[in-house]
Amino acid sequence: MNKNMQLPDPEELFEVLAKKIHVAKIPDIALVGIHTGGVWLAQRLHQKLGIEHPLGMLDVSFYRDDFDKRGLRAHVKPSAIPFDVEKVNILLVDDVLYTGRTIRAAINELFDYGRPGCIHLAALIDRGGRQLPIAPQYVGTELKIPDEKMLELRQDADGKLSLKLYDKNFDE
């Protein structure tokens, strides 16, 4: 793949994603963002779609399956689910969907809060490469990214989103 591959504008992708979710009209819906990028998106969606349930946030560090290899990350943020998940329809929001392992961890954590009605999944970008049977219902776009690359959503001080593509072994 070309090193200077043209990345889409995440601001436009967000509008596409928000529209798809809006059109779907999921009843009694609560949003849960996955730290960190997913929380930024979930916050925006929460406001734009006028969701009634307060916004939930998950840091799945305590549920990751690579703890034995990588240990605990340096900045674990508190998870907060400020509503009763029992029977609620939850829309999980993540920035870049890849192997599906983060989503597996998030679903496990959600069930420790109770038994939700449904769990839907929204991602800004689906980059393929799934290692688990997990599929999103709502995506901004699909983008084939080679395995040796990392794709990261970033947010500047003014809240503007951008995408960064870099080599996996290269620590930014």
Binding site: G71, A74, G114
Partner: protein
């Protein structure tokens, strides 16, 4: 093991928790921040996360303790680890087995972590040095040397109520001489940037040259409490006193017991802490222990989150 600081690995990551002395501020803050996330877990309906599933944690208590052992046990169980409690004071040691033989035997049972309480200073250190390199050790109190998890949960409590360490005056009051808690607290407070730490005690309950730890010494509770934001009370450790350090409990209470009147000399919004178990009417009056400024029970709750943080950071650190 890092030769300079046996608690850290080559990359400066925490491998054992033996003392707060010499721990970098980054490590202290990492523990406090991680504990913050665990407080959320302990408030949920399902108070359990799968992080340490399949790990075996041995509570090695060579000295009796109910509270500390229980909080370590709860912390480990909430992390889904298997916990084995050994009250060694009542078994192997009395049969003549050496400390290291006991540890080697338990290592052969595939232990992943030891939580050690011992009446001898340096016991946890010795175990960390001799145990298999993939085993993690937490000091749960060694002699009058250190009790790092107690100090960390105290730091966590202070940060919860006072937010910032940089504008605080903290007083540690009571039996400093026999207190491993006091030593660990002083090191942690100093590293976290508390500008003024006072110790308030009669001369007979202060270690020699305690000023060298960077604290201000007061022998009068009335004088020492002026402008204080945080009062850290200590338990009078009558079981460790060999000589006549004190004339009587009544006399101690008269001069050093924390009563509402004496507490009113500190700042109006000062908080009162105590590591437990309390001797009511000796170092603290019931009206203070159960009063509005007391954060003694929150300390216990936070202690579980802090111990969960320490255990998960250690279990995840690579040799």
């Amino acid at each position: 093991m890092n030769s300079k600081n046996p608690q850290l690995n080559e990359n400066g990551a925490l491998q054992h928790l033996l003392t707060t002395e010499g721990l970098p501020i980054s490590v202290l803050l990492h523990i406090l921040d991680t504990a913050e996330s665990f407080v959320g877990v302990t408030e949920r309906d399902v108070k359990k996360i799968p992080l340490l599933r399949g790990k075996s944690i041995f509570n090695l208590f060579f000295e009796p303790s109910t509270r500390t052992r229980t909080t370590f046990e709860i912390a480990a169980k909430r992390l889904s680890a298997d916990v084995i409690n050994l009250n060694i004071a009542a078994s192997s040691e009395s049969k003549g087995e050496t400390l290291l033989d006991t540890v080697n035997n338990l290592s052969a049972m595939n232990a992943d972590m030891f939580v050690v309480r011992h009446s001898q200073s340096g016991a946890a250190h010795l175990i960390a040095k001799h145990a298999r390199s993939d085993i993690r050790v937490i000091n749960a109190g060694d002699g009058s040397h250190a009790h790092p998890t107690q100090a960390l949960l105290d730091m966590f409590t202070i940060r919860r109520y006072k937010r910032d360490f940089h504008n605080l005056r903290v007083a540690i009051i009571g039996d400093i001489l026999h207190s491993r808690v006091a030593r660990s607290e002083i090191h942690a407070l100093t590293t976290l940037g508390v500008p003024e730490v006072r110790v308030i005690a009669p001369k007979t309950l202060l270690p020699k040259m305690v000023e060298r730890l960077g604290v201000h010494v007061y022998h009068s509770l009335e004088k020492g409490l002026k402008d204080i934001d945080v009062l850290m009370m200590l338990r009078l450790q009558n079981e460790r006193m060999t000589g006549a350090n004190l004339p009587s409990f009544e006399e101690y209470f008269k001069y050093y017991g924390l009563t509402p009147e004496k507490l009113s000399l500190a700042r109006k919004d000062a908080i009162v802490m105590h590591p437990g178990p309390m001797n009511r009417g000796v170092e603290i009056d019931s009206a203070v222990a159960d009063g509005k400024q007391s954060v003694i029970l929150p300390q216990v709750t936070f202690g579980i989150a802090v111990r969960m943080a320490v255990m998960s950071i250690l279990a995840g650190s690579q040799t």
